[in-house]
Amino acid sequence: MKPLYELKNIYYQYPDGTIALDNINMKIYEGEVVAIIGPNGAGKTTLLKILDALEFPKKGEVYFEGKKLEERLLNDIEFMKYFRKKVGFIFQDPDTMLFSPTVWDDVAFAPLHLYDKDTAIKVTEKVINEMNLNHIKDKHPYNISGGEKKKSSIAAVLSITPDVILMDEPTSYLDPKSRNYIINLIKDLKSKNKTIVFVSHDPNLITLADRCYILNKKIIAEGTPREIFSNVEILEENNLDVPEITKLFKLLLDDKDLISKINIDNLPITVDEAYNILKDLLKSKT
């Protein structure tokens, strides 16, 4: 299977000389959900910017559908339009993405630049309706809540129905309801075979990924969320955390009186997994 993205020996340095990324090698396949985790300042956002061809590495190569992403290629209008339609980037701070006078104009921004006017209006209206943004579509982005801003910024990207969605900390600063909305949205996009690459510290969100990378300027580890969460040492070294439900089962297993009564192969990483373990346990008791 050919990768959608292939990163070879990526090296990136900030203008002040700080190294952001060093020798990054990575492959991302179509329809995959990939989580990139790591401490603050690990270069995660820079990596997403490189994947969206907003920044270019100082050394190394990035391939998208087999084509090398470089400034020269992005200057080709045809390719640029194709690439921008194919890849959408949801920034961490929705205020960065909502720069138009109304939410409607922000959702329509990408379609107006990438499609003809009639199609742009049609797709904008469709996304506004699908994401239930009708009540705020005429409002100035300054006048809407944090959750609504996040939802609007997502709509602003989904309006072009990209096949690849890059998300930078999609659940940060959100209340539980908005956070659950994002989790369900990722599940929904995953079911539609979209490729999702997200950066997050949220253990519950990370469990949705097919593969995870721990990044701290270099790639520290790679694996499924279960493999990553079982590597407590690396997680601690990189200021990362495991889901609360996993911690609870770890505590139970560490208890000498209980260890014989709980017989599990893997620690649960989601509430659903924990529910099934407990259900089986309670059933066996009765």
């Binding site: 640029m80 339009k81 921008r84 909502l98 720069f99 138009s100 990438l114 742009a120 100035h140």
Partner: protein
């Protein structure tokens, strides 16, 4: 000195809060039943600008009073609380006109009403001086009244789009929209910085200390602004922006708009004719 620092801080805090609330509330602009709100924004802007130009051309108080009353009628028909509107207009009048008009009252030659000083210099409040001050103030107030009516009854996006369809270039509209969008966000940052400073202080700062902290805050805000500007540009590029802004407008002129424009032209012609030919 300490009180003056406190006063400056309070003033900045209130100004930021007031501007943010006043500008972004848009509550009157969203009232679809209002007279001016129903109009096509382009026609409304053209009509009210005609009235502003007429106002600044008028030389007699009587005609200016008529035009001022007309603005109040528009305000009532547009369902804006009259007191709120009058306060909003007259709040800045003394600031703008006071400095200019104050010397004129004493320096304009004419029939003295009250003599302040005879020697060594003759200073008196004259009838002509007062008349000019009233005329000037009323002219400014009426012109501002019509301008405030535009901003109160039209959403910012509609003002921008209307200006765009009246020929203002796309790039100017984009710059104005971005400035409007982010200036208040940054002002809120300033406010938060002020609050965070306040929450960590256990004594009043001296003027010099306060200026040092203000300087540091300005620096921090500048860095934040620069970073944000960079990210906004990236967010635009990521969504297909090619340094050519595209603005979507779907305004339609109705009979109601044409009747309004004809009425404005008629009122302006009558006012100018009466002012120049009859009075």
């Amino acid at each position: 000195m300490v009180n003056s620092v406190k006063l400056i801080n309070k003033t900045v805090e209130h100004v930021i809060k007031y501007i943010s609330e006043a500008v972004f509330s848009e509550k009157f602009a969203r009232n679809k039943d209002g007279f001016l709100q129903k109009l096509d924004p382009r026609i409304k802007i053209i009509g009210l600008i005609i009235l502003v130009i007429t106002t600044v051309s008028i030389k007699h108080i009587k005609v200016l009073l008529f035009l001022y009353i007309l603005s109040l009628v528009f305000c009532i028909l547009s369902r804006i609380p009259l007191l709120y509107y009058i306060k909003r207009v007259w709040l800045f009048i003394p600031l703008f006109t006071g400095i200019i008009i104050l010397p004129v009252i004493f320096l304009t030659p004419g029939h003295p009403i009250y003599i302040i000083l005879k020697k060594p210099y003759y200073i008196a409040i004259t009838y002509e001086g007062i008349k000019y001050a009233v005329l000037f103030t009323l002219r400014v107030a009426t012109a501002i009244s019509y301008t405030v009516l535009i901003t109160l009854t039209t959403r910012w996006d509609e003002i921008m789009k209307a200006l765009n369809s009246l020929g203002v270039p796309d790039i100017v509209i984009t710059i104005m929209t971005l400035a409007y969008r982010y200036i208040f966000l940054l002002l809120n940052n300033v406010l938060e910085m002020m609050y965070s400073k306040k929450s960590r202080l256990c004594r009043n700062l001296k003027l010099k200390e306060s200026w040092i902290i203000a300087g540091k805050s300005m620096g921090a805000l500048f860095i934040k602004t620069q970073r944000m500007g960079e990210d906004i540009y990236y967010a635009m590029l990521s969504r297909g922006y090619l340094n050519e802004p595209r603005i979507f407008t779907n305004f339609k002129v109705k009979y109601y708009d044409i009747i309004f424009l004809c009425f404005i032209i008629l009122i302006s012609s009558i006012s100018l004719g009466y002012d120049r030919l009859i009075l």
